[in-house]
């Protein structure tokens, strides 16, 4: 007698019980708190040890610096000016990178022509071509945005290109035999398949934008985190310098978290 293979007729969803989910959140918060406390602890130690004390002003002094910079009226405008340059530079970079990367991946001749130049310019630290940009674009936000745009464009183009090029060709063939034309393939295969890579590109772009910020603002900005750090370094005012460095880091983490939240919504089909 043949035994019949029984397929499950009903699927029971296993719901994670409420206490377990809250447990996990509590654990995560506990770990995060521990991490922050340890970091501040190490920082305090570093601010006391003679060999590192010069670089690490003690945490309290840095906390006070918040008040100082606020009273000087620069803290908010610095953050605002930097965010402005970072966001616009990144946006322009992305809007250019997406089509260029996709076209390069789709048309090999284009990659042959543009590819080497992307690698070439990528090898040059932004700090080196910043003066060149300032000479044409003048001092101010425009030059900063251009520099950040260039740096983020290069990084994101390379990442998105890799993403499109790595799309499983079987999926494209499958779409073709189901009568998909080029436009259909673009909308229904390339875009969804490349989305995870595009998100990665966005994360890398955001990071690059922030790290390029200092170079960009060295062009002589009126306000901004990078510019202020430079002027503070001339007076060796370490406490506010450290504060600004921390602020840059916080902006970085916040941007990354926001991007990840967006990522989870858009790629719920991936099991991460």
């Amino acid at each position: 007698m043949q035994s019949e293979l029984e397929l499950p007729t009903k699927v029971h969803k296993v719901k994670k019980s409420q206490p377990t989910r809250n447990h996990r959140r509590l654990k995560k918060t506990a770990w995060l708190t521990l991490s922050i406390i340890s970091a501040v602890g190490i920082w305090w130690v570093l601010s006391v040890i003679p060999s590192t004390a010069q670089s690490f002003p003690d945490p309290l002094a840095v906390a006070e610096a918040v008040g100082t910079m606020l009273s000087r009226g620069v803290l908010i405008s610095d953050i605002g000016a930097s965010l402005f340059s970072v966001l616009w530079g990144f946006l322009f970079g992305f809007v250019l990178a997406l089509p260029v990367a996709i076209l390069m991946a789709w048309y090999q001749p284009l990659e042959n022509i543009i590819g080497p130049w992307i690698q070439f310019i990528r090898s040059i630290p932004p700090l080196a071509y910043v003066p060149l940009v300032v000479v044409s674009a003048g001092i101010g936000a425009k030059a900063q945005i251009i520099v950040i745009c260039i740096a983020t464009f290069l990084v994101m183009t390379v990442t998105i290109y890799q993403g499109v090029v790595n799309i499983d060709p079987t999926l494209i063939k499958a779409a073709r035999v189901l009568s998909a034309k080029d436009r259909d393939i673009f909308v229904h295969v390339i875009v969804p398949a490349a989305t995870p890579y595009i998100i990665t590109a966005v994360r890398l772009g955001a990071t690059t934008a922030l790290t390029t910020l200092i170079a960009a603002e060295s062009t002589g900005a009126e306000a901004g985190l990078g510019m202020r750090i430079q002027s503070l370094s001339q007076t060796f005012d370490v406490a506010p310098m450290m504060l600004y460095i921390i602020i840059i880091g916080i902006i970085g983490i916040t941007l990354d978290k926001l991007i990840r939240m967006f990522e989870r919504k858009v790629t719920k089909w991936q099991d991460k």
Binding site: L7, V11, K173, A174, A175, V177, L178, S179
Partner: protein, 136 residues
Amino acid sequence: MAGQIKLAIKHISKTYQSERGEMLALHDINLGITENEFVTVIGPSGCGKSTLLNIIAGLEQATTGQIFCDGAAVEGTGSERGVVFQQYALFPWLTVRQNVAFGLKIRQDKSAAAMARVARYIDMVGLTDFAERYPK
């Protein structure tokens, strides 16, 4: 029992160009497949089976020769020449149902009749309870 020839493969040849020179993959293949005929192409690895199938499906261009389906010459791919691939051709960002309905989506067929067909095929393989799941 000679039926109507549904798929006519005439004088198909395929030569590949590479840095190492030319490679003749297929030479003057002629084949007529009638309706409801079940044909198996067998041969050792690298003999050109996949090449021939790709050409029939329209995924590759023959160097010379033509394929005729129902008397008409074929250009490129088409849903009258469907393909089941060696690898999984599942779109990971689509659910089971959406995967099955992909061809209909391309043809912009959202009719109730189309959706019913999708449901029928899903049921046929016992995946009705998994229809909204992702392939992973």
